[in-house]
Subunit: 350 residues, 2 copies
């Protein structure tokens, strides 16, 4: 099993304390939690757990389609972004996948599960040069882009994505863009590539409710793609992979526009706060990014810092298992102001 952020259970077991008493900067979840009223809404509809979910998820797909601005035939829901990535790689029938690194480690693991050859593309200063990218990849493959990228926070501009799509469409290359964090970017929805779905059948976009809507426990993601792609993926989908409470929640939270706007406001503000504060600590070198987390390089021993913070109930994500990074890097989620202040104080006292 790959090590991920957000495993508060393991650390709670190690420290022998309740998971809820930890401040978790290792998982990039919305610090505002989930939209108001969701708990009560779920409780009022709880009797639905005695029924199977709608295997076609008609209402959920309708709601998502309205939210992202496509037709419901372009939407496939799944058990988190992970299931989308798996089904996409499985159904595209390519031999090879190109992965610019550092990035989310599950792409590599899922490619292996599907017996795909993997080629890593190493980036300079963590920024993707699309012109170089186009020269490095070969036909009959899948290119995976995480935008904004986890763990660097780098955002590829919409013009660069259009350039990529233009160049790739003649090459039988399928482009998967993982937009798990796109809704945290200040200029969303302008930053999203969804607008290209109907013009480029080789484009597939992965999204999730996990991070932005603060419901990682419920497991809800979706893919946006051309009808042909979506139908191919359905052939390999297991029935009912989205549970009924995730289905109900997805439809509920998409109605709450003010939650979305407030999230973007808070994240922008708090990311700037953290960047400013971290820059003032002389052994931390943060990278400015566009997402709800910050990558930073340390000139001190990361493990020592990790343990120091852990004793104070604070979890951060070390980046030693990201290909292209090493143990001198950490990733810090942007959380609510009081948590961020606690982190900064703890770092300063180290």
């Amino acid at each position: 099993m790959i090590e991920h952020g957000g495993n508060i259970y393991r650390f709670a077991r190690i420290l022998d304390r309740e998971p809820s008493t930890l401040i978790d900067f290792s998982a990039n979840i919305n610090p505002l939690g989930f939209p108001e009223g969701l708990k009560e809404h779920l409780f009022s509809l709880m009797d639905y757990i005695t029924s199977y979910p709608d295997p076609e998820y008609v209402e959920l797909r309708d709601a998502i389609a309205g939210y992202v601005g496509v037709r419901k035939e372009n939407i496939i829901p799944g058990n988190g972004a992970i299931e989308m990535i798996y089904l996409y790689m499985k159904s595209m029938k390519k031999d090879k996948v190109f992965i610019p690194v550092p990035t989310f480690s599950e792409y590599e693991r899922i490619a292996r599960m599907n017996s795909l050859a993997i080629e890593y593309l190493f980036t300079k200063n963590f920024s993707i040069d699309v012109e170089r990218l186009v020269k490095e990849i070969s036909p009959e493959s899948i290119l995976i882009i995480c935008n904004p990228n986890n763990p660097t926070g780098t955002l590829i501009s919409i013009d660069s994505i259009e350039y990529l799509l233009e160049k790739l469409s003649g090459l039988e290359i399928s482009l998967m863009i993982d937009e798990a964090f796109i809704e945290f970017t200040e200029d969303y929805p302008e930053s999203s590539a969804v607008r290209f779905i109907n013009s480029y059948p080789n484009l597939f976009i992965v999204r999730c409710f996990t991070k932005f809507f603060g419901i990682p426990g419920l497991r809800l993601g979706y893919g946006v793609g051309g009808e042909e792609t979506v139908n191919k993926m359905k052939e390999f989908a297991l029935p009912w992979s989205v549970n009924i409470l995730a289905d109900i929640s997805g439809r509920y939270v998409l109605k709450n526009m003010s939650f979305m706007e407030e999230t973007r406001r808070v994240i922008t503000l708090e990311r700037e706060f953290l960047l400013r504060e971290l820059s003032n600590i002389k052994w931390i070198y943060p990278y400015p990014g566009k997402a709800n987390f910050i990558l930073a390089r340390l000139s001190i021993d990361t493990e020592e810092l990790e343990n120091f913070l852990l004793q104070r109930g604070i979890l951060i994500r070390n980046c030693r298992n990201f290909k292209g990074l090493d143990k001198s890097y950490i990733r810090i989620a942007v959380k609510d102001h009081s948590s961020n202040v606690k982190l900064v104080e703890a770092l300063k006292s180290f």
Copy 2:
């Protein structure tokens, strides 16, 4: 997509009525619903949806292991029984799967997804003759047995299963027993093959919370197998496929022994009631089974009956898409007494 029972949404859309107003005899779910207090328990722990599930599901596996009487290393949890079946076929690395029919249609679909050759074994009077079975199968394959079998309700005795395991272990044949309905049988846990898990490494058992604990909407299943099998399957498992509310629910419902006993009492009673009543209708020929559903052959037009019942808000499962059956068969779930009476009355008035 394969047609399954329990798709109340499709029929609700066709009839333009609320799904909850239908009496669903097409899905084999516990008529007692879920154990008391579950809703309130979930509500009190709802804030856990802001965290990822424990990727190792330590507490859930502990609870399940205690319930079935094995060690937690023998347990792998999943998104319903379906995910277990998929991971098992994917990780066993065999070329062929033997499926005695009629049975659950997803075995066939999942075998195809994993590019396995399929051989059907046709049964006589829907009963599996294990001696004949052993002669018909070839080495380096998977044999799938659903016990009690869906849709026939036939239960293979524990002696026959032991005989099978003995014969198969020299042949490099992996035996998967799907016990999705085993807890409904009157003499559970005696009827379960779990006792053989530690003596036969080629045995894998699939279970689910869906039917017996009345929570199909939550998506929770598990597998019981030797450590080697479980570890192989973990290599192909996607992380967090069980959502946190399913995790919490699984641990909660396993504590309620009286719910389990009451369920077996009611099902035994109501199955006998339905069998007696159906036998009195001259165009219905029910098969006596051991599960919480009844297979019946009709000497009238099934579709006409289906439509007649549908107009009365009653769903049954026609069996035309079960290999080895045809459109003259239906499957009826054993429900609570008042629903069963309504069904019998509707059938008599046809």
